[in-house]
């Protein structure tokens, strides 16, 4: 049981309809997308992921009017913000988060711009506890940079989020570096949101395309591991020493063994990456945080905590619900799996530190446990 303050680092908000986004598009793109006669509005989301046998959304999150989960503010308020003393919820978009998976890079860049404005107008205006990710179309790094800078003066656009990968190489590759330079320049962290087994990510699962959602979900962290190893190997944190990185929706218990292997390989293969100045685990210690969901469930409760202790999990993990997805983690369940001495840090303080906030600035607003 945990009834203290919380920051939920992964809340997927959605549009009720495609029409909802149209006012945020330029006149030209609005025309291009919407005026197709009887064909209706052009598809705005990338939809080639493997189907989940239960559906992707928790059945109890569908609004009564049939609109998509995460699209109804009042329902989200009741089910996320007011369920506990939630001080901030980081909005991470739903299917729209796959904007970098679109084939048309110009369309993607316009969508990213419109989605960010929609998020500000339709969501951030509703509740001060809501803050948003900045979506970027990484197909065109220069336009992504412009989009990041456009939000420099809005502190409620709290991070630059990467999901799909339109390029051949993972996120440490220099093609992405202008994005990191811009994020560092405006003082925002980077967030990488996990995903595998479909969409337009060309390397969603190493070894080949999987056939079942069951496989894809099990391998969810694989993509994030690849991006993390790429980030460090390419010296992103040497080049951008003030950059912070949050790994979302990839679980966490895989990290110790990855770092043991990574450090060992660095000792033998440093010659290939002489720009690195310390062990990979030390870059992770100094720059990387992880969200909890979907937390690996060990046969005995203490096992996952013992494992995460190797990477100072008490100070690196940030609670995330992943609402309204089918595999969202409930607060008290996560509290039951982690040591009580970790709770306040995992549910609140680690995210405070990651986003550079002060507790005094996050006054309780409402909710079941607000003091």
């Amino acid at each position: 049981m945990y009834d203290g303050p919380m920051i939920d680092c992964d809340v997927h908000h959605a549009r009720a309809t495609d029409q909802e986004l149209l006012p945020f598009l330029s006149r030209g793109w609005h025309e291009f997308i919407s005026n197709r006669g009887p064909a209706g509005i052009m598809p705005l989301t990338v939809q080639d992921g493997l189907p989940n046998p239960h559906g992707f959304m928790r059945a109890d999150t569908f609004p009564p009017d049939g609109s998509p989960p995460g699209s109804d503010f009042e329902m989200l308020r009741q089910q996320v913000l007011d369920r506990g003393d939630v001080r901030r919820a980081i909005l991470t978009f739903g299917d729209d988060s796959h904007v970098a998976g679109h084939h048309n890079p110009y369309f993607a860049a316009e969508l990213a711009r419109a989605l960010n404005d929609w998020s500000i107008d339709r969501w951030l205006s509703r509740d001060e506890r809501l803050v948003s990710s900045i979506m970027v179309a990484t197909q065109l790094p220069e336009q992504a940079v412009a989009e990041i800078r456009r939000h420099a003066d809005n502190p409620r656009m709290v991070q630059v989020m990467l999901v799909d990968n339109p390029h051949r190489y993972p996120f440490g590759h220099p093609v992405f570096h202008p994005i990191y330079a811009a994020a560092e320049e405006i003082g925002r962290p980077i967030a990488i949101h996990g995903g595998a087994g479909g969409w337009a990510n060309p390397a969603s699962t190493g070894g080949g395309k999987v056939n079942f959602y069951f496989e894809a979900h099990t391998l969810w962290p694989q993509v994030v591991m690849t991006h993390l190893v790429s980030f460090i190997s390419h010296g992103v944190f040497e080049r951008f020493p003030r950059l912070r990185l949050l790994l979302i929706e990839a679980g966490a218990a895989w990290l110790p063994s990855l770092l043991w292997r990574f450090d060992t390989d660095y000792k033998g293969l440093r010659r290939e990456v002489p720009w690195l100045k310390k062990l990979p685990s030390e870059y992770v210690r100094d720059h990387v945080w992880l969200t909890t969901q979907p937390l690996e469930i060990s046969p005995k409760r203490e096992q996952v905590a013992e494992l995460l202790g190797w990477v100072n999990g008490a100070d690196r993990l940030c609670y995330s619900s992943d609402y309204p997805h089918w595999d969202a983690d409930e607060t008290n369940y996560i509290a039951s799996r982690l040591p009580a001495s970790w709770h306040r840090r995992v549910f609140f303080e680690n995210a405070l530190k990651f986003y550079g906030w002060q507790e005094a600035d996050l006054a309780p607003v409402g909710g079941r446990n607000a003091k």
């Binding site: 010296g235 660095y266 000792k267 720009w275």
Partner: protein, 131 residues
């Protein structure tokens, strides 16, 4: 204890010459006119360090930069590639990890390797680097 391991000209510059002191291989390395003596046992898994590749040290001031620092020779163990600074014996990635080095003097164009009391005990044990 000082051991005369041979004339300077018998150690070609830029190469590792392996000699045996006691039961242990020691690499005599001549580099830019200076001579160094390094243990032949890697601290990692006991690999034959001095049978690895000798080179200048590769460094990078920024991602993608590959700079060769000729003044600082490095030897890489043929087992797993761990690299050590020949001058200090320190691992490139952590100076706290090191292989044994021995003081070297050149006297009358001969290479003299200084083996101290502790070194003599070490020379008697084939895996002494791990203790």
């Amino acid at each position: 204890m000082t051991t005369d391991v041979g004339p300077v000209e018998s150690f070609p510059d830029g190469q590792v010459s392996i000699i045996t002191l006691g039961r242990i291989e020691v690499g005599i390395i001549r580099w830019s006119g200076k001579v160094y003596a390094v243990s032949g046992i890697c601290t990692h898994q006991g690999g034959p360090l001095c049978r690895g590749v000798l080179s200048g040290r590769l460094a990078g001031t920024a991602p993608g930069d590959m700079t060769l620092e000729d003044a600082a020779p490095v030897i890489a163990c043929p087992w797993h590639g761990w690299e050590f600074d020949v001058c200090t014996g320190e691992a490139i990635w952590d100076p706290a990890v090191r292989v044994r080095t021995f003081p070297v003097k050149i006297v009358a164009d001969r290479v003299l390797v200084e083996i101290g009391a502790g070194s003599r005990r070490w020379l008697a044990s084939p895996r002494a680097d791990e203790t």
